[in-house]
Amino acid sequence: MQQQRIIYDDTTVRRFIMASVLFGIVGMAVGALVASQLAWWQANLGIPYTTYSRLRPLHTNAVIFAFVGNMMFAGIYYSSQRLLKTRMASDVLSKIHFWGWQLIIVAAAVTLPLGITTSKEYAELEWPIDLAIAVIWVVFAINFFWTLKKRNEKNLYVAIWFYIATIVTVAVLHIVNSLALPFSPLKSYSVYAGVQDALVQWWYGHNAVAFFLTTPILGIMYYFLPKAAERPVYSYRLSIIHFWALVFIYIWAGPHHLLYTALPDWAQSLGMIFSVMLWAPSWGGMLNGLLTLKGAWHKLREDPVLKFLIAGVTFYGMATFEGPLLSIKSVSALGHYTDWIVGHVHSGALGWNGFMAAGMFYWLVPRLYGTKLHSTKAADAHFWLATVGILLYAVSMWISGITQGLMWRATNADGTLLYPNFVETLLAIRPMYIVRFTGGSMYLVGFIMMAWNLWKTARAGQPVNGEATVVVETPAPAPVPAATPAPGWVQVVTGRPLIFAIAILTVTMFLGWARPVRALVLMGAIIALGEFAWIVTRREREAGRPSWFGLIEGRPLAFTVLTLVAILIGGVAELLPTIMLKQAVPAHGEAQQPYSPLELQGRDLYVREGCYTCHSQMIRPFVAETQRYGDVSRAEEFIYDHPFQWGSKRTGPDLHRLGGKYPNLWHYTHMLDPRATSPGSNMPPYPWLAKNQLNTKDAPKKLTLMQKLGVPYTNADIDTAEARQKSQAEGITADLATQGVHLKWDSELVALIAYLQRLGRGPQDVPVQQQPGGPPTASAVDSQGGTR
């Protein structure tokens, strides 16, 4: 035995905290701005870079990856070193991780307002930044697992389990969802299309919430709440159940974002069932956190840290009650696409993530600078300001969302829509948008107060790195064993619990093919096997042998593999059948034809401008929706959509069957001045689209890339792409000219109009006839163009 002095790397922790606070202010300020834009459209300022649809992805990315990401890293770096009783394995890797992550954030802050986006929610960053994320995440993983390897503590506390699950699962999610073919240094196309793209995206999107915003913060809860309360977690047993149930179930819940869409019904039901099952582990974890304060509730009166942590855990309970509720199909029918979802998300983001961050920062910063918190009163004021802010936000969004849902589906006695004009619903909820802006701004003011308080605290002290002395076993010459024990992995694989579990599972599978009598026998066998397993386990315990789980728990690699298996089971079982579905899609006429070159260019402008942030392209099978928007959307209509554009929110109406609904002039007017065609609309104007010139040379290159992705463009399509593009555009401009509007054929607005006129029907151009002895000309094309 010898003593070892450890100086922890707290410099990295301090850096991540500073970055989190800074980017938290930026992300929330952008959030307040976009909230104001929904209430007052003039706040869009009429310039591309400050327009709602480009800033909303910046807000979500900044808050998730910059604010919570940096906070999460600070918590992981601080707690892991102490729980593992060792300094982080490599200071260099810690530095690369910190600075690399900040560079990624800056890259996101530059590219998103420029409209450089994949349009996949919370995964909007383009492929070079995606690659950088993967590299930096691997750096973080190496540093973390290397630290695990050199730890001076045999057991892995449950917080470490949550960190392992986070690192492994985020890597899998990011890689699978970001698979894309690059078109240029700043543009790529998803390898998935339509239904598959939607399922993969929301498998990712939901699990970004689960494994980026939840599991690491739960790890932080299991470490910092006992520290702040100065008492151990209420039930360690419950934390184990919490971990495994959460890790396994969460990964399945993604399809609840796609209920009543064109996603196969079985996948929807599966997503719903697993979402409802999430109630149990989530509330188990919440109660475990809350009850940690059992017997010490009086501390809440005095300690702002505990106020934030306990309120944060309470918001976790509220958000994880509301989430499964919204995942029930009949509730989703009302709540999906409405502001209810926005309120739900912000209960989690502001209440759970924001409050846990504040509690952790108020606890950590004084210790990291060897001083006391500058102002407890200011921290208290922050707490109440933020709490009232969240309540205003959440309640206004509940009212707004339920109002929207009810108004959209309201019908007269004769079955016609009671509110046929979409803008009517928008006008009804505008007061709620103002209340939401007020609540969000209050939260932001409280957050800035915290930044000031932490800054004053840091200035009052000096950076202090924690030190600890640990007792380390010195390696002694190993006695020659009488018999060499089996290697650890062999013990794990041949462990009796695993053997029994596989045996029970195998017998269970035969139930599916058994007649009633055989089924009874098989069930008897299952019970007998279970009983036998129980007896064997008891005997082994009495003999003092280590349990099977004990073997896993002490081996980070085995534990990580087991966690990976747990998340992969859900991922593979859910995604694989849908990815294999492609061949099973029935043919359905013209709707399956690929976009014309001009329509494809227009689709990319739709993506660039972020139209999906306010408009869905998915008509659900409800009478009110088919009356308002047209026929129900079908899976086969999206098979060439790389990426899919179903959206998740209807601040504006669904656009899937917009094609042919209005003339070109309506679209032209609407894009330049939305209130000219839709009085009361809060849509921002897009005047730059009429002035910007389309990169017409890109058309054949885009068709070539789509061909590689499986879209059935012929080589002739590629050869004639530029000519077809021009002829279709000239058709639109000619139509506009007859009504006194003169627009260049190669303006971006023409391409966007072509795309919008295509939605829900076949391509609106006519293939160019090859002229003998010369290139194709526009005169060979139907002059009606996109107006048919």
Partner: protein
């Protein structure tokens, strides 16, 4: 009945298998947690965040 159920939903075999697997693992973990280990082990594990009290500079 089971056979018909599976035949009519071929795409769901994989998710159903995974569901059974989940139930088996979940029950196994529950049995292990609540039955097969002494409570003092858990008490010791639960104390881990509190064990570094007295850390210089931070407590």
């Amino acid at each position: 009945m089971y056979k018909q159920f599976y035949e009519g939903m071929s795409l769901t075999e994989l998710p159903l298998f995974a569901l059974w697997l989940f139930i088996a693992v979940f029950l196994g973990v529950c049995v292990w947690v609540f039955g097969a280990r002494r409570s003092q082990d858990f008490d010791a594990l639960a104390q881990m965040p509190l064990s570094e009290r007295g850390e210089q500079g931070h407590e």
